[in-house]
Amino acid sequence: MNTRQPYRFVMELQKRDGSALGQVPVAADWEPAWEAARFLALRRFPRAAVGASTVAEIRPAWHETLGQPYISAVEVVLQVPGAGELSCRVPNSFFKSLAGDASAPLVQKGALQAGELFNYLVTAFPSPPQANGVAQRRERFQIEEVPTPLPVRVSLLGDFYALAVAAGEQNEEDIPVFLPRRVLAEADQMTRDSGAVETASVLIGHMHRDQAGGELFLEVTAQIPARNTEATATKVSFGPETWNAVRSALALRSGNEQWVGWFHSHPASSWCNSKCTPEARVKCPLQRSFFSADDCDVHRTVFAKAFHIALLVTNTDAGLQHALFSWRGGVIVQRGFHILGNEGEQNPAVAPVAVATIGDAENEKICP
């Protein structure tokens, strides 16, 4: 994909009272935004190939009330040869983690208190043309993307809906995701069995295209426990041995299944101070469902395709809570899903779904 960025972006930080804190240039990791547009093209143009001849450009969507140079979003505009043009909206929350990083020096300087809320605005300015005669650094090797089309099965979405129940809030921007009751039960059991330490697995499955309406949807078929991980009460480490074990298990299944996401647990009950009263434990932030900054790193590093999902099971005093996350417009969000019944089962029980926070540190504080 041939990417163009005719604008540069600058972030303005402000205190909640509107007083200025400063400006920082935006050095964003744009890949999730490009990938969101790439996947939207796959959804809209079934026969189109998004390859080297596809042109993608990031353009500002000017702020409705503040106007230029402030933006409310960016648009990734994709021109797919032989298919047409599409635009993928990337919200300003895309810049949230950058704002967090930019605030750290302000806390060190005392301009912001630790934990103090602040606002950020993003502005866009045309990039100056590249100066002629600037020496380009010689690359020691050339790389060229090898097209690896995702295998897509043709199926009837209605057949899946007929055997499933919805869990969590559904958003029409998301592709439908179907999780078998069996896979959820296995994740639940792994969470219970691992007790006070975290556990994880890789989710595998198939991408389908609805024969009737043409929409893509994702079916999880199984989970492969992440062996050779190093797990503690608060983290699980994935390394080369983990990935190799998953690949070997996948090859043995020979079902042409794809990596579609991952699961991990948070043993929240074990994190809480055992001396706290039951009432205090219920209110403890550690008992809530949250997708940590480290979880976001795993998702970005390994599960960066727009259709990749992350299942989190939080073991709370009130029982197991489930939350599913995926990409939407280049940003990791919580999303709804559908639970597929076991064979012959018409109305599978709905798993408890918790409302989660993402990437914030609020839930990562040590229990008082």
């Binding site: 990083d101 995702l150 608060t234 699980v236 190799n244 991990h264 504080k365 040590i366």
Partner: protein, 98 residues
């Protein structure tokens, strides 16, 4: 310049869903696997830094031999044309309690 042809290999991420062809000039075969990885990771759109600016670690697995390449190995000695390497991160998920 040498008359040796370019060394072409394939590199993929762990999911196998992103694959690139890597063409290494004959004159650059003396670079180390670590240098290759340093250049390859960002160009495969893999992040170098995680939250808080911590550096992420990657390894290269040589499929032909079923082993991980050491960062100090020389590309021209370890790799052959049409070899396939897999770029694998070591990374942590979890509650991240401070």
């Amino acid at each position: 310049m040498t008359d040796e042809p370019k060394l072409d290999i394939l590199a993929s991420d762990v999911t196998g869903q992103t694959v690139v062809n890597v063409g290494i000039d004959a004159s650059d075969r003396e670079m180390s696997v670590g240098e290759l990885l340093d250049g390859l990771v960002p160009r495969m759109k893999l992040p170098r830094l995680g939250n808080g600016g911590r550096t992420l670690t990657y390894h290269a697995r040589l499929e032909r031999e079923g082993r991980h390449l050491h960062a100090t190995e020389v590309v021209g000695e370890a790799l052959q044309p049409k070899d396939r390497i897999m770029i694998q991160p070591t990374i942590e998920a979890g509650g991240n309690r401070r």
